[in-house]
């Protein structure tokens, strides 16, 4: 099977700073691949190496079985949508899109045919003669993409192109980009620090940290079974404890956290008593109950006070202040996400209310500390 893109142990240093170290991954054709990481993790350097603006110190980039070593940016079968879009302000929309074709010395007739076609595809059929500063943010976005698509690149590189848009438009463009990619079948390589962008659009995500790839997988896999604490905390929200396994009590293990809590999690054969572990529980997996009756059947259950409520429209987030178990004085804020439904008593828990919070052993995710 040939891949659209293969990165083979890429490394790049700037002075003594190692921006990208030993990064390898493959992208299959037609997929929407995202590289997700906090700023400074080396994702932009990685993209610039693929586009050819900077040469890797070590490793190789292979696009459709062809090594890109020593090939200049203008000769690579990839095109890039820049972070600030980098549309040419001195040209019209048409001229911007025609630029690449003109560089290839395509005949005028063909140019106008292709440009009209791609303008239609991105829904800007009437805007060819407009100046760049007459366009809205979303339209500029589409022109920037059209300018690349008209060249029919093997891979389209996108460097956080949604960063400059306002929230509403960004949500809209996420869906739009995803649709566009499905419709075109072009391989997209998307770079972002925004985990929600990556989760919504991608077929595969590589999470990067400090120049290395932490985990590659589908959005579901990353969300549901992160392989490292970094991924668990970076992708989506999580309640987090660190502690030590104190004993086995089938089918659970008991973990004593640093704050003095005793938590139960599912047993796994790789655990040993004394292992240091991180425990993560997603806010939407948390259970809440208030009132006289103690909930039964909850494996983990703690008493707490609702400290604040944040209404998000479809959901509401409760912040519950929970005392550590066994009379410990240490308290911790847990995030609980509940669906906000009309007349739902539990969803209307006001702040200051005493509640019981808990979760099922199945919902927690346990990772050994220091093991990848």
């Amino acid at each position: 099977m040939t891949f659209a893109l293969e990165c083979r142990s890429l490394s790049k240093r700037f002075g003594s700073f190692s921006a990208v170290s030993d990064v390898s991954f493959t992208i299959s054709e037609g997929s929407f691949f995202s590289i997700l990481g906090p700023s400074g993790c080396g994702k932009t350097t990685l993209l610039r190496m693929i586009s050819g603006f900077c040469e890797p110190d070590k490793g190789d980039i292979v696009i459709h079985s062809r090594s890109m070593r020593g090939i200049l940016p203008n000769a690579r079968p990839v095109n890039m949508v820049f972070q600030q879009l980098a549309l040419f302000p001195m040209m019209t929309v048409f001229e911007n899109i025609a630029y690449g074709l003109r560089c290839r010395k395509v005949s005028k007739k063909k140019i106008s045919f292709h440009v009209e076609e791609v303008l239609n595809r991105v829904g800007l059929a009437q805007s060819g003669s407009k100046k760049i500063d007459q366009l809205s943010g979303g339209q500029k976005q589409r022109v920037a993409i059209a300018r690349c698509l008209v060249l029919e690149p093997k891979i389209l590189l996108l460097d956080e192109p949604l960063g400059a848009l306002d929230l509403k438009l960004r949500e809209h463009m996420k869906i739009e980009l995803k649709k566009l990619q499905t419709q075109l079948g072009t391989t997209f390589l998307y770079i972002t620090h925004d985990q929600s962008e990556a989760l919504v659009m991608s077929s595969h995500i590589a999470v990067m940290k400090e120049g290395r790839i932490e985990q590659i997988g589908t959005p579901q896999a990353l969300y549901q079974s992160p392989k490292s604490s970094f991924v668990a905390q970076f992708v989506g929200d999580n309640n987090h404890w660190r502690g030590k396994i104190v004993q086995f009590c089938e089918p659970y293990v008991e973990v004593q956290t640093e704050e003095g809590w005793k938590l139960k999690a599912l047993y796994s054969s790789s655990f040993q008593v004394g292992d240091r572990v991180d425990i993560f529980v997603r806010p939407e997996a948390m259970l809440v109950k208030s009132g006289e009756k103690k909930p039964n059947g909850w494996v983990n259950c703690f008493e707490g006070l609702v400290s604040s409520v944040v209404f998000n429209g479809g959901t509401r987030d409760l912040w519950v202040n929970v005392r550590g178990g066994n009379g410990s004085s240490f308290s911790k804020e847990l995030k609980v996400t509940l669906p906000a439904q009309k007349g739902d008593g539990e969803a209307c828990l006001p702040s200051g209310r005493a509640v019981e919070v808990g979760w099922d052993a199945l919902s927690s995710h346990v990772l050994k500390v220091g093991v990848k």
Binding site: F53, N74, A75, G100, C103
Partner: protein, 286 residues
Amino acid sequence: MNRLLLKWNVGLLALPLLLWIVLLIILPLSDLFISSFQEKVGVGVFEWGLGNYQAFLQEPFYWQTFIRTVLFSIIATMATLGVAFPVAYYIAKVARGRVKSMLFVLCLLPFWVSELVRNYGWMIILRESGLLNHFLMKLNLITQPIEFLYRDATVMMGLIYTSLLFMVVPLVVVLENLDESLLEASDDLGGGRLISLRRIIIPHAMPGIVSGCIMVFMLTLGNYLTATLLGGKESLWFTEHIYNQFMTRWNWELGSAMGFLLLVVSSALVWLGLRMTGQKLNKVMT
């Protein structure tokens, strides 16, 4: 009351500018304009008429010098642009940090001494017994000293040298504003260096190019010192004629007509240049 005071204050603030414009620009120019239409008919007796302009047109020496000066100025402006553009590009886009400011200061350095001294400097280097000849003789490249002064090429070089800064500064300013990602985008879309230069860099730099050209053209056209010192008596620079009319011939009327012609033609050429490049004067000059 307060409003009146404010009005007076604003008026006071504008006063130096007003004085400048009226006393140093409008009055002398009107005087020049009026006296260019005065014909001397007797001692201290003048009549209105176009005689001075006729005199200019009837004397080929005058108008040929005039055309020569304009053409030379245009060539000098283009040559200055050609020299200044790479320099400005290097300063704005390639050089970084201390090198950048050092290069800029180096461009500025010659202007810390007066134009007169700078031209004398060139004369010391270029004259028959000058430094350049000395070295060429020492290196046995020539057997007899060459007179480098008083040649058209020398005048041209002097003019380019004098105007360089006025071209470099506006070019550096516009080129610094050029977003690097535009060049990368051009590169990414398959544009080579020449295409990027022609389709991205030059269109972006156009306001700076035009404003630099206007400044250099004006300075060159009205240049007196460089043309006279490096070109000598035979340099045939139009300002020399004007100087002669005022100072040696004592014919202020013809001198005024010539001065006015220079002003009209230079304004017309600037207008033409703006029209041809599609730039607006107010945009270019800010």
